[in-house]
Chain length 339, copies 2
């Protein structure tokens, strides 16, 4: 199953890439093209444009009508990656230097601004452009809020940013976690599915069902990422195990659920580790062992399954079709990819 | 004259401010509002929204139809200021800390993204939104190019940005200067005037005349800024005299014109000073003296007047009106403000 859906994503990705390139090259000087194209050329799974296209097809629409807005949402994703890497000082992504690391901060900021205008141009070429401009402006403001919360959920660091130091959260509730995760990950996936419905001229109920599907798989996706972050081995994931702990991020559901269960002294150990910089390999290993001793992993997984099931239920409101079955597969892949 | 037009700008500014605030507050969390509103609350002359409104009126349109897009162009200007201050590490603007200096880099980047979406929302509320989305997307890509060239025209610095160090210009021609200045300053002023024509439902010839007017006053504005930079006393301008020299910027028409005239050893002195960091007060004074000994100031001023006259000629294509007379005054103020 996994292979099948990955092959499909790659195929859809290859359809959307020329569109992204077109809008990035439009009104772009020859000299700036290398920088403008770098982020999208580094690759990516193209999940979001696949969701736009499959949602449009599942709602009875045509793939041609979905391509410009599919390119737009993947450009939004890449725009946010360029900026997240600046904010988090990330130096490597998908095995290559990040944009700021490769071209410097000034050029990375200019590249991001250029991406945002390529997005506007792609939306202008779509069906129902005003609806899409409106939906995606709101979505990007929501992304800002998600990133802001994610930064404020960090337990230490950013000493050159007094505002963050003064306003960071000492504790994070599950409600706050879901708010952050929806804003940071769920909103754009929701918007991708809604956009597919919009360009398919779907009735409001269908657009709503697609949106709720997207929101739920978005949150399930983030929960899966959180589990993989704490328990996934570096050999398999390509990322350091426990990266969220190393980066002091309390916005991870496995960490939050484990804190509910740990005894006072263990809880104190994990909380203070999140505020300690740098932490040793031994401390990290002990933290992961403590978390593994709780039911946090199983509970997080169960919560992820609830979101997945909610998403799958929404699909039942659509007529059966190849695209609908692909959306089902994609939803399951998101949660089950780790096993 | 000067006072009259400044009073008018302030009046128009006060009409546009509530619109900017509305779009910045829309889809904004309560906690983020302070950061979102900071840049526009620091002030500014509101030249660009005044140009939108006066252009709309001069083309027979109504002020109400011009307000959302007037807010959008002033938000674009402020968006570019937030990012320029990050790129140039500027710590003070209009007598107050810049956004990144006050709230840190992460929050400044998030504020900029939020501004861009407020712009999209304002354009969606305008007449002819698709035309405006298109015009302003293109304009913002042009701003990116202008800022990129301005950075590459710097003669030293940014040692943490290898791409800039490797690609910076050793020499800058007048053609390259005008390309940079149009992109950095002229394009948005041109777009402001065009936008006024568009929301007034003007015929293409009128929109074109307004656009050419705006482009020319934009370039004249930058030439005036360059002269003020080299010769304006700090007591009067609030900026260090010779700031462009201190910041190694070769993208200043007075510097470029003086380099054409200076004898070999003087030329070598000025060129190498632009590559030296830091430079002493004595060196800066000597550089300004050398420049003052050439006809660069007079020639720059004459070139500025040519752009001004080109702008004024364009206005003759419009019927006489109060708004047209205000546009004339505004154009003259831009060049004559220094005397």
């Amino acid at each position: 199953m996994e292979e099948n859906i990955l092959v499909k994503l790659a195929k859809i990705g290859s359809m959307v890439d020329p569109y992204m390139e077109k809008y990035l090259k439009s009104n772009c000087s020859e000299e700036f093209e290398e920088i403008a194209l770098y982020q999208v050329k580094v690759g990516g799974k193209r999940v979001r444009p696949a969701l736009v296209i499959l949602s449009a097809q599942a709602a009875g629409g045509k793939i041609e009508d979905a391509l410009p807005v599919a390119a737009a949402v993947e450009l939004i994703h890449n725009y946010s990656l360029i900026l997240d890497d600046i904010i988090d000082r990330g130096e490597i992504r998908r095995g290559a230097p990040t944009v700021w690391k490769k071209y410097g901060l000034s050029m990375a900021i200019l590249a991001a601004v250029h991406y945002r205008e390529a997005i506007a141009e792609a939306l202008n070429d779509s069906k129902h452009p005003l609806k899409l401009h409106d939906l995606l402006a709101k979505t990007m403001k929501t992304l800002v809020e998600g990133e802001r919360l994610d930064v404020l959920f960090e337990q230490t660091g950013r000493f050159d940013e007094p505002y963050v130091v003064e306003n960071r959260r000492k504790t994070v509730t599950l409600d706050e976690y879901f708010k952050m995760v929806y804003a940071k990950t769920g909103a754009l996936i929701e918007a991708s599915c809604r956009a597919g419905g919009i360009v398919a001229d779907a009735i409001p109920e269908v657009i709503e069902a697609l949106g709720v599907y997207g929101k739920n798989i978005g949150i399930a996706f983030q929960i899966a990422d959180d589990i993989i972050d704490i328990f996934g081995k570096e050999e398999k994931t390509g990322k350091a195990q426990g990266k969220d702990i190393i980066e002091h991020k309390m916005g991870n559901i496995v960490i939050l659920l484990s804190l509910e269960e740990l005894k006072n002294d263990e809880k104190e150990f994990l909380s203070s580790l999140l505020r300690k910089e740098p932490i040793s390999k031994e401390e990290l290993a002990k933290a992961i062992e403590l978390i593994a001793g709780t039911s946090a992993r199983d509970r997080a997984y169960e919560i992820g399954e609830r979101y997945l099931n909610e998403a799958l239920q929404m699909l039942e409101k659509l007529p059966d079709s190849d695209a609908r079955r692909d959306l089902e597969q994609l939803a399951k892949f998101i949660l089950y990819r780790m096993f």
